[in-house]
């Protein structure tokens, strides 16, 4: 049925709401959240058995790992860096915060976290020194020593990813950029995290949750590993409401991005999967409801870049 919709609509090349229509058809095909009973789920616009999705997604990221960062820059014209910066500003961590970054692969969020904490720490130190104008030399050097011993104030970030290739790229990057402390790299599945309950202050998942087979399980795990008072933050592609921008975005996504994938990474199919998986992900309100179902309170979202991306936030209270 979707094939005939496809054929009819394809006569006009860039027809209206093409992406929405096809993604609706994709959902009808059995890709929707509620059809778990049939054991099938969506892989982009394809339908696959649930058991297969995790493996297929693993292969996608194994294939793109080395070119992941350069593709992100090319596809988003570098704007993904701004989105991630905004996420960190919203998080506003302070020295001592324990962060779990899930699907953190190549480390973008983790490195930003460390930079943020470092600058917070420096600020703290400056404030402290300012307020004590009559410090002796010994006291000043002692506070610098303390700073040297705990440059992050006890903050730590655990980067967890199911894909070893992505972690490998992330570790190499960390070495290359000089991030040596406060980072741990752990292989793990978002649906079944290898951590104890109530461990972290902040849980982030940036551009990762749409690749998870059972999003509700990932959300439940997030709730479990967070401390009471802890914060859940998700940065993910979402739905664009403005019809004009939506059309341009669809055009760009489906016409240009796979081409970029082929030219830069020699991999059309992985990037076709990427743009399709974005259409399959629930819209802002629906995802907010899912987060609330997992037990989070004060769940909010904010749209970035007209809704191309959204940051969802919730608290375990």
């Amino acid at each position: 049925m979707a094939a005939s919709i496809g054929a009819a609509s394809c006569r006009a090349l860039f027809c209206r709401s093409w992406g929405k229509r096809l993604s609706a058809a994709g959902r009808l095909l059995g890709g929707a959240r509620g059809l778990a009973a049939q054991g099938e789920t969506h892989l982009g616009f394809q339908t696959v058995p649930e058991a297969e999705k995790e493996q297929r997604v693993y292969q996608v990221f194994e294939s793109v790992a080395k070119k992941y960062d350069i593709m992100n820059d090319s596809m988003s014209f570098g704007i993904h860096r701004l989105w991630k910066d905004i996420l960190l500003h919203q998080m506003n961590p302070y020295p001592g915060t324990q962060l779990l970054d899930v699907a953190g692969g190549t480390g973008d969020i983790a490195f930003r976290f460390i930079n943020y904490i470092r600058s917070q720490r420096e600020y703290q130190l400056r404030q402290k020194l300012k307020s004590h104008q009559n410090l002796s030399w010994q006291e000043i050097s002692k506070s610098y020593q303390e700073e040297a011993l705990k440059p992050l104030g006890g903050s730590q970030v655990v980067i967890c990813d199911i894909n070893k290739e992505m972690l490998k790229v992330g570790k190499q990057k960390a070495q290359h950029l000089g991030y040596t402390e406060g980072l741990s790299w752990v292989v793990g599945n978002a649906e079944e995290l290898p951590f104890d309950d109530d461990k972290f202050d902040v849980y982030t998942i940036a551009f990762g949750i749409r690749n998870v087979t059972h999003i509700d399980q990932a959300l439940q795990e997030a709730y479990r590993v967070l401390q009471p008072g802890g914060r859940f933050l998700c940065l993910e592609f979402s739905q664009v409401n403005n019809p004009l921008i939506s059309r341009l975005y669809d055009l760009y996504s489906f016409q240009v991005i796979p081409v970029l994938g082929e030219i830069i990474a020699g991999d059309w199919k992985s990037y076709q999967y990427l743009v399709e998986s974005i259409r399959q992900f629930p819209a802002q309100e629906e995802f907010k409801a899912m987060i609330e179902d997992a037990g989070f309170l004060k769940v909010e979202y904010r749209n970035l870049t007209a809704g191309i991306v959204a940051i969802h936030s919730g608290f375990k209270l």
Binding site: L13, E262, Q272
Partner: protein, 244 residues
Amino acid sequence: MRFRPQGPLYPGHVPTSPLQKVLLAAGSALAALRDPYRHDMVAVLGETTGSLALQRLRDKMRHDAEGYQILRERPRIRLSTLDVAGLRGLPDGTFGREYMRFLEDNRVSPDTRMPAKFVDDEELAYVIQRYREVHDLMHTLLGMPTNMLGEVVVKWFEAVQTGLPMCALGAVFGPIRLKARKLQVLTTELIPWAVQSGLRANCILNIYYERRWEQTVESLREEIGILPPPSIRLEFSCNTWDIA
């Protein structure tokens, strides 16, 4: 797939819209210029710009007895289908022996040819596949190695023979990276010979090469219409290299 007028026509087929083909052609041309060793980009350029030339080639094949057989039987040149030991055992100077020598000397294999992805016709996808597999055989018949100079010469020959825009682009832009001395040999001796041979010769896709292994290289050249290569000695910094 998002844009799927008919679905994939053959294994590995990626249906593309006209806009995507234009973007692919432009992008792959730039990528291949930046890094000529990106064979995948050369392949993509060939597929996205070669529609007209491939149709003409297919028609030439259809109107020739041997070519028509090839289109029907669809032979593939792969290490798994070649009798490597048998070919190596052939006398020197035979096509089969020289082809094996070419593969060994240049350390290449016929199995690294990219399968067609962006050609929207199943038969034309075979034609371009055949062209790619015949490319190494052209190296053998023309006596050209796989360095930049050799590749450019073969491209000139193929550009004239096939009319594929990718060959023409490779022929024109390939020499950019060559040093002055090589460029001189290229323009004064090699290109004129390659172009003349290309114009004289029958369509190279109309030969069932798999049946010609025992034929000598000279007799095959004569049959097709390729002129004997010019004998040139080129001195490089560390070694000399004879052509033919």
